[in-house]
């Protein structure tokens, strides 16, 4: 089999007829099938790595470039500065050059006016309402608990994951770590995620929402760090955290045995999902009896 044909298969360069033939061939030849699978994974990883850039709104200067040149022609000077020597029968093009700036100024003025108005109305409201209100209360319990394990986990991730000293206990001291976490948190378990391609680096105690929480760090073969955060929950959440998107981190949250778990890391959703399923399975499985010692 010509290797370039396998590449053509991955890149969709084959006729449907030839593609079917190759797929039949691959089902018989595991080694070539593995190659193709590896390239497909590369493709997915590359796209995942750079897709966020295409999703961003480009900077203003980039968005305007083509339109500006369409309207005014090449910038006479590379810097894009106004070239006063440009032959022109009227000042209209210059006025048009100023348009974006004028528009910005107008927008800024409107925004400033809106802010002043808002501040004034808030001030007035407070002056009228405040005296009638009972003394301000601390934020209610529900407010602080229903949102937030993911945020806590992210904070811990941002703090520790890339640190030169990310963990207090490394993997070699797992029994000590689990004993320490058990004592402070009332729960400790470090699932073995090697089947999901994650190797335990170690763990530490981290501030949780209401009490100390556990924070374990794993490393993927690609070097990405994935963290498992867990904190005991007193009550079931009434409201679930709505899905959010972030350019780098994927987070998966679940509950079990009265503990909130969050697994997060810069991996693709399905990969992290697989790791989370593995972790949930290990935590829930009766083999946990030996777990506290592992």
């Amino acid at each position: 089999m010509d290797e370039s044909e396998l590449h053509a298969l991955v890149d969709g360069e084959l006729t449907p007829q030839r593609r079917r033939e190759l797929e039949d061939y691959l089902s018989q030849h595991k080694e070539d099938a593995a190659l193709v699978e590896n390239w497909r994974r590369q493709n997915a990883a590359l796209r995942a790595a750079f897709e966020p850039v295409a999703k961003e709104t480009p900077p203003l200067s980039l968005r305007n470039t083509a339109a500006r040149i369409a309207a005014f022609g090449a910038p006479p000077i590379e810097s894009g500065a106004v070239h006063w020597g440009r032959p022109s029968s009227s000042f209209r093009p210059l006025r048009r050059l100023n348009e974006p700036r004028d528009a910005r100024t107008r927008k800024a003025l409107i925004a400033a006016a809106a802010v002043l108005l808002a501040a004034a109305s808030i001030g007035a409201t407070f002056m009228i309402i405040l005296p009638r209100l009972p003394t301000p209360r601390a934020p209610s319990h529900a407010q602080t608990t229903t949102h937030g394990y993911v945020e806590r986990a992210e904070l811990a991730y941002a703090t520790f994951a890339q640190d030169t000293h990310p963990v207090d206990y490394d993997a070699a001291h797992k029994p000590e770590m689990l004993a320490a976490l058990l004592e402070r948190i009332g729960f400790a378990f470090a699932p073995d995620l090697s089947v999901a391609g994650l190797r335990l680096i170690g763990g530490r105690l981290t501030p949780g929402l209401q009490r100390p929480a556990g924070f374990l760090i794993y490393e993927a073969i690609g070097g990405e760090r994935v963290a498992l955060y867990f904190e005991p929950v007193e009550e079931e959440p009434r409201e679930l955290v709505p899905p959010r998107t972030d350019q780098n981190l994927t987070a998966i949250e679940w509950r079990g045995e009265g503990i909130a778990f969050v697994l997060l890391g810069p991996l693709a959703g399905d990969r992290l999902q697989a790791a989370a399923e593995r972790a949930a399975y290990e935590i829930a499985t009766p083999a946990r009896d030996e777990g506290s010692g592992r």
Partner: protein, 165 residues
């Protein structure tokens, strides 16, 4: 006028993709440098389009890719490229370590979805050469092991796991 607006709209529409491509092509020199190249590429493509150098509006985005690549190539050959920080993910490091032409071929096909013929036209290289570069690039990235994810047997799919982010 209509024609003019046409190419300008095409360039605008392709800007996000150009940025993605530039970011990956200049993976070791950072976002700002990549955006600078995109700016220059769009500038020059627009100037050429305005001079009616292209037969149709679709040629403008293709020219922008060509210009972007030659700018980046110049930059690499003058050594304006610095090494990726060791903390960057392995994939990005490996991408940065690829020879420039291999990286360009790989990214045109994989990231930008160009057919082999289109990529060859953009790179001003024979189709076979582009395929060879692509093959070498993939071979270089192969050891990365970008990873298994098949759930192990015995693990039932847990319906209570939610991706919240």
């Amino acid at each position: 006028m209509g024609q003019r607006e046409d190419w300008s709209l095409r360039l605008e529409a392709v800007t996000p993709a150009l940025r993605r491509f530039a970011r990956a092509l200049c993976v070791s020199s950072g976002a700002a440098a990549a955006d600078d190249l995109v700016q220059t590429a769009i500038d020059r493509a627009a100037v050429r389009a305005r001079r009616r150098e292209f037969r149709d509006a679709d040629a403008a985005p293709i020219a922008a890719y060509e210009i972007l690549i030659s700018l980046a190539r110049e930059k690499v050959s003058t050594g304006g490229d610095h090494r990726a920080a060791p903390r960057e993910p392995a994939l990005l490091r490996a991408l940065a370590d690829l020879p420039f032409e291999e990286r360009a071929a790989l990214l045109l096909v994989v990231l930008e979805g160009f057919a082999y013929d289109a990529a060859a036209a953009i790179l001003h290289a024979p189709r076979e050469a582009v395929v060879m570069r692509l093959m070498r690039a993939r071979a270089a990235l192969a050891p990365l092991d970008l990873h298994p994810s098949a759930p192990q047997d015995g693990v039932r799919r847990a319906a209570h796991l939610r991706v919240v982010k």
